[in-house]
Subunit: 114 residues, 2 copies
Amino acid sequence: MSDDELSRTFAALADPTRRAILARLAEGEATVNELAEPFDMSLQAVSKHLKVLERAGLITRGRDAQWRPCRLETAPLETASAWIDRYCAHWSDRFDRLEREIRRVQHEEGQEQA
Amino acid sequence: MSDDELSRTFAALADPTRRAILARLAEGEATVNELAEPFDMSLQAVSKHLKVLERAGLITRGRDAQWRPCRLETAPLETASAWIDRYCAHWSDRFDRLEREIRRVQHEEGQEQA
DNA sequence: ATCGTATTCAACCTCTCGGTTTATCAACAG
DNA sequence: CTGTTGATAAACCGAGAGGTTGAATACGAT
């Protein structure tokens, strides 16, 4: 596989196990054992998947005694999404949706003030 | 590789040659020879890349005499982008990025790569 | 020091990817 | 029919993905 950043990101996303891991991490940090639990696969296999995700910059790992908690990093996801968006023709739709979302958030913030 | 739709899409995007092909097709239909021209690679290799893209639903191919014009299909791109967006929480950042991207594209209106 | 738990490393296997070359198919032009 | 051009098919190859098992490492608890 090519080793440029976008290629690494997309390749990392091209596996349902890894996507499930990312989905799990979106809810918060987790250890390797916790991440491996749902899968019918060896711990070592999951560890390899995590290495792929780490190389792609999609996760970072801390150290807490013998545990290596994994944390989701969204920067490469944003780069990948930006690449895709350039070739999705529906600019105005997306723009409208985002504009609505922002107005909604701003409105909520205003209400919180009162 | 796993054969579900998202996996096929991301796997197809995980190659710079295929991303360049999609970028080219975003400017309009093209034949296999036209698509192969920029690459230092055999026509057959490009044909294989097109087959991957076709299996992922990212392109469709017509028939015009002995030519097989390729056309970009954005539906899987939108699905992929939607998956990513679910895990990128940074709406306002995205908004800024999109706004910048739109201005950039409106300015350039032309020659660029994957 | 020893044991248990969390994680990784190393070796191995099988299958797919991305490329090649050679041969073949399909459609026009003469 | 023959020849040419556009495109695909088939067979092959080296490298890497994704999984396994077994050993090694790192740290905490006893």
